[in-house]
């Protein structure tokens, strides 16, 4: 009975305001992708990170999420006029970004406490900053304005947190979880780690599963690694769509 009434209401709205006035979420077109040229592009299902949506990189401890985020940031500096880092923990070090060959003229670091950081992120997303890297959680009251602003301007939002809170996780459209499988040691020296990236949540395309990544740490500012992040042909092979983990 209720379903019939709902269908009737939907039909009435479409007759009065047009067929596009009301659309089921499943029928909405996917957001425009921003090809980040990182292995993550294949995990999203649309060939890049979704514009105007929040993407979360999560994982406890040292699992490579920050290195991947820096790779995304480095790539974004060449694509956008403004790549902004919202640094709530004062932990962002531009030096760690150098191996990714960034265009430093495009980077702006905003250091604010969590509550003000939410306001700053929402304002910058609304203003149309191309890429925003959130180095921590945004308070729940600011998630709505942040989503709305990013959606309108097409800002690529990437958040890096160990374990997202309920509201932050709910606000994200794409959530990738990282878990370290082993350290990479060469000649007795730690040079990186191997990690598995899993698609935990995907509202922009069907979930595509997981992939294994080998992440090399930058050794010094003068040592620029050719491929700091690469997909590793390891024992954990990338799963294809057919065998995706949902």
């Amino acid at each position: 009975m209720q379903e019939t009434q709902l269908d009737h209401a939907i039909s009435a709205i479409r007759v009065r305001f047009g067929s596009q006035a009301l659309t089921r979420a499943a029928q909405l077109p996917p957001p425009q992708p921003w090809p980040s040229c990182t292995p993550l592009d294949r995990l999203t299902g649309i060939g890049g990170l979704p514009r105007g949506r929040l993407t979360l990189l999560t994982g406890s401890g040292t699992c490579g999420k920050l290195t991947l985020a820096l790779a995304l940031l480095g790539s974004a500096t060449h694509e956008f006029a403004h790549a902004v880092v919202i640094d709530t923990r004062s932990s962002f070090d531009p030096w760690a970004l150098l191996p990714f060959d960034p265009d430093l003229s495009s980077i702006t670091v905003v250091r604010l406490e969590s509550d003000s950081a939410g306001e700053a992120a929402a304002a910058l997303a609304k203003a149309g900053a191309g890429f925003i890297l959130l180095m921590g959680e945004i308070p729940e009251p600011w998630l709505g304005p942040l989503e709305a602003g990013a959606n309108r301007s097409g800002t690529v939002l990437v958040g890096v947190v160990d374990a997202p809170g309920r509201a932050f996780a709910h606000a994200s459209s794409l959530s990738l979880g990282f878990s370290r499988t082993e350290w990479v040691v060469e000649r007795g020296r730690l040079i990186g780690l191997r990690t598995i990236a899993r698609c935990l949540k995907n509202r922009v395309a069907p979930p595509l599963g997981e992939t294994a990544l080998e992440i090399h740490y930058p050794q010094s500012a003068d040592l620029f690694l050719e491929h700091p992040v690469s997909e590793a042909p390891l024992h954990v092979a990338e799963l294809e769509c057919a065998s995706a983990v949902v």
Partner: protein, 381 residues
Amino acid sequence: MRICCGLTGNLELARRPDLYGSPVVVGSWEDDERVIAVSEETMPFGVAPGMPMRQAEHLCPQATFISPDPVAAAQLRELIASALYDLAPIVEVQVAGIAWLDVKGVPKPGESIREARRILRTAIGRESRLGLAPGSFSARLAAARARPGRLMRIEDVRGFLAPLSSHELPLDEEQLERLDLLGLRTLGAVAALGPRELESQLGREGRHAVLLARGDEPDELMPWRPPLFTSAHRQFEPPVEDREALLFVARALCSDLAGELGLRGAGAKHVRVRILFESGNPDERASVVRHPLSSAAELFGLIGAWIKEWQPCAPITELWIELPLLEGAGRRQLRLWAGGDGNSDEVVAALERLQERHGDEVVRRPRPAFLSSPLPTQRFA
């Protein structure tokens, strides 16, 4: 050829286009009771600017006498000047009804003059007389001799000026009378004298008169410049206590100002908001921004943030948004194609607002300093 002059008649007369074709006298009965402007139709009766109003009434009782409105005339002057400014970089417009346009260096002077004629016709409501000559003096005299809507172009300035009356020179009555006594009744006669000779008779004005009569054009135009100040305000009756209402009005005022800035191609470098309270004590907040704000979103982004944190001490009777310092907004498009961002300027403006609210140090743009330093704080400036 470089100066085009358009004669329109005094701008005070243009306030009443419905009286075109009939004798009109503009003057005040209250102040010095002198005639300020007259229409061409009153001249046959001997009425001239500067004479007492009562005398003008005696000479031409059928004329319509209207009071002057200097503010409206000045506004019309600004309107004409700003429109002509689009055609040439040097423009001078006088309330007396003279508009000069320096077309030197203009790629298509003919089109500029044609457009100037159209602008003057639109503003005044009838055709102007146009003159084109090497200088402002000769261009004005040429325009005075052209038919309405036509251009008189002067090639040989000295030959054109020579037969004209010496009373065309900008001298006072006593000096003109002395010229008559000296037998210098034409500009050609004045030009034949040496500048020093007439200077010894009339002082500095004599020298100036000789140069004008020779067509040497010693006077430069006084270029009109776009005004560098703009503001918008709204009065509240009854006084407002609701912050939302204040924000609504501020947004509308920002939109108006942004439209005005857009027309001028300008941006606000300095923003000031004044609030007048019922108690009578005004409060204001001002800021100099690094990059000029020109869109409604940029202006309201700054002003809205101020209003949101303002603690009014009493109901508000008036809101003023003033932009005391404007500058060209053209250079702000340098990064127009820089990347896929929505609007680079708005991002910069948003960052500036963050700095204004939380301090300069919250926004940093890392620049390499000593990359090899073991101390992370020294690696980047």
